[in-house]
Assembly symmetry: C2
Homo-oligomer: 239 residues x 2
Amino acid sequence: MATTNKYMNIFQELSEEIKNGVFEPNSLLPSEHELCERFNTSRETIRKALTLLSQNGFIQKMQGKGSLVLDISKMTFPVTGLVSFKEIQQSLGRDIQTTVHKLELIEAEDWLSKQLECPEHALTWEVVRARTIQGERVILDKDWLLQTTVPSLTEEICADSIYAYLEGQLGLNISYAKKEITVEPATDEDRALLDLDGYSHIVLVKNFVHLEDTSIFQYTESRHRLDKFKFVDFARRRK
Amino acid sequence: MATTNKYMNIFQELSEEIKNGVFEPNSLLPSEHELCERFNTSRETIRKALTLLSQNGFIQKMQGKGSLVLDISKMTFPVTGLVSFKEIQQSLGRDIQTTVHKLELIEAEDWLSKQLECPEHALTWEVVRARTIQGERVILDKDWLLQTTVPSLTEEICADSIYAYLEGQLGLNISYAKKEITVEPATDEDRALLDLDGYSHIVLVKNFVHLEDTSIFQYTESRHRLDKFKFVDFARRRK
DNA sequence: CAGTGGTCTAGACCACATA
DNA sequence: ATGTGGTCTAGACCACTGT
């Protein structure tokens, strides 16, 4: 669990303590000075950890007063940030299955090479997966990954979590992503592979995933049945 | 324009220069050392400004190499963070009108006092506004604001931007918000006040807005016609 | 007043990239 | 080997909050 970073460790340790109720919601965290002593470190380092806590909705800093612990039980769940389908569902303790409908190496067509910002005809993994939650097929995930960064891919990996494989096994460093959420008419494919229950539209979440060298290596379309879709976002006001 | 903060000023100055093309996309920013000299400041201060640029999608920092300028023209627009309807539309140069359908001081009912985390029967402003974009009424905004924090409210303010009034005139410090995006069946009110064009559902964006003392003072439901809804999110991976 | 967080500094050492 | 960013330090001064 120990990453190399001091402030990252402090952030994780304090966030665990907040989650576990060691620090009560609506109470104050120990002062920065006290935290310096507890973690035997300098104040700027403590402040980096506290900044992370603040950005992730754990605390609210108040000048002259201290750091107030927020009630994270009211937060439903921060889907913000880069979190994969599997991580989210696991965090909710949901019972899910994944059906892999397609796993092929294709040549990128015109539209796809534009999405991936890659040369046309670049070799690309195309993955189509349906997600079953509590007996209903409600999400269709369509992934495209450049073979230059992901040489091989198996059905086992797709049935589990592609993210876990990329970060864990391949050691890829995912750095940021852009998401677009819209509502679109359902396609024949949607109707065939999902239990649409009469809905004529789906929620489409497009996801452009970038590596640390800023190249896009994955483009994902996540197609959700309307009534099963929920997106939660925590955001701080930047002045 | 000059806020009090050194790193905030540097962030704004550099972000302007990136927007204006002074620094080309896919080129490197001057090194932190050079920026220290240019702004006559220490490295940690420069790094705070660069961290802000990174978090807002302007640059990608790469150890050993430098800070790469990202192509913000590909970003559509960061709707992430706390941005009001008016700010977003203005940034897109859209032609919009607002119709105020309701502006009343009411007593919070059961469900509302739960949303606002306030005592039942607390006095609350209820505001209902329809947004017309390019001739079509496509968004219905329903706002509830606690009178304890917003003593008075006029139709003129509502027709313009409530946010601008709250932050500019009242000097309220908005600090963070939680958003929830779902799809819900349209109500009779939706059908009456919007040009729903046959759609049976709307996209519902719930917004819980908190002040710096962490109290909720505003709860908003933004109801969008399906085909006119778009949400864009930029997120960095936190390890 | 004392205690809190907010900003800023000058310098140190490390890890990574490039030539 | 040099230059880049990543982390950490010890201390300074300021602004705000409470008593």
